[in-house]
Symmetry: C2
Subunit: 207 residues, 2 copies
């Protein structure tokens, strides 16, 4: 599938209400917090925990989740390299729409390819939007030991093809804004670290 612009005769429509106006209404700044890491690394767990704390503090956050997205907008995509790239591209564009709404996006996808993540980073940069890559790091052995969905077991048995870490590569970030070593941190410490960063960047107000 091409990612070239197909439709012509289209122009960008600016509304009268701006991103900044919506940010003022919500008393926050929209941003994409992009959690990447192996299946079982703890991406969803930390995203769910962060979402809860943000909500308790009166902030509007929304989780985009690999599985949820794949049951909806990206239901027509599989796990080939081409489909993975299109999957991440679409999610990046959706995240941008949410950031434009001034929502804090918590996206948790394996997103194994560096080039794909960098596309999303560039999309945000072009639009002057915050993109915060969080590498949710765990040794493969540990992820495989956790195996919360039993997927590694299936992958090892050859029942799942193109499985990241087993039969498909995971390209670790080289310059993530934050690395969380989930095998060595409590969930509370992870959330605290994230909140500190979001406050320092002016995305949320101090508690």
């Amino acid at each position: 599938m091409t990612t070239q612009q197909v439709a012509t005769n289209v122009t960008w429509h600016d509304g009268e209400v701006t991103r900044a106006d919506r940010g003022q209404l919500l008393k926050q700044k929209g941003a994409t917090i992009w959690f990447t890491g192996l299946s079982g690394s703890g991406k969803s767990t930390v995203a769910v925990a962060l979402e809860k704390v943000l909500h308790q503090r009166g902030h509007l956050a929304y989780r985009l989740d690999g599985d949820n997205i794949r049951l909806g907008i990206n239901k027509n995509l599989g796990f080939s390299a081409e489909d993975r790239t299109e999957n991440i591209r679409r999610i990046g564009e959706i995240a941008k729409l949410f950031v434009d709404t001034s929502v804090i996006v918590l996206s948790s996808f394996v997103s194994p390819y560096r080039a794909d993540r960098d596309v999303v980073r560039a999309l945000h940069a072009e639009a002057g939007m915050d993109f915060i890559e969080v590498y949710v790091e765990v040794p493969l052995e540990e992820a495989e030991k956790r195996d919360p969905k039993g997927l590694y077991k299936k992958a090892r048995a050859g029942l799942i093809k193109n499985f990241t870490g087993i039969s498909d590569p995971y390209e670790a970030p080289e310059a993530a804004e934050l690395v969380l070593h989930t095998a060595e941190m409590t969930l509370e410490a992870e959330v605290e670290t994230l909140l500190k960063m979001l406050t320092e960047r002016g995305i949320v107000h101090a508690a």
Copy 2:
């Protein structure tokens, strides 16, 4: 392109913060207001005006616009019947994500095919979400006279193929929640009618 579920081994993750929680935070109920009608009918104009009034009242709304979406997530789609269908399907799924965030979505797309709009309606109904179809009606002659982007002229000259109303059909809604006859109404009256409906449905609070 298929719309069958391709990925297996995926399950829906419920967060601890619900749609209702977010609605309580925003003091509103998420909903999709789906404006449909010919190019030049006034869809974007009324969406922009409604967005402004909603914001002034402290509500969080976001416009999804045909042109904007086609420059981002749907940049790899054209105007064939198949691409139009995929275009609307993706927009419907994005709208659902926003409704789940409790945002009021104002989508303005020609969305000429009844079956495509009904797919989006069904997607919302399945999820217990409000979908409000607003037929922005104008006689073709009037739309062609307005021709704000000079597109009808190009279509008549054969420079644009698959142009709705000229070389591609527009299937008018048969049971829209609201019809706005923009050739006979002021913009103020259109916005007032919409606000009244949104209040009656409990999407926004009374002014």
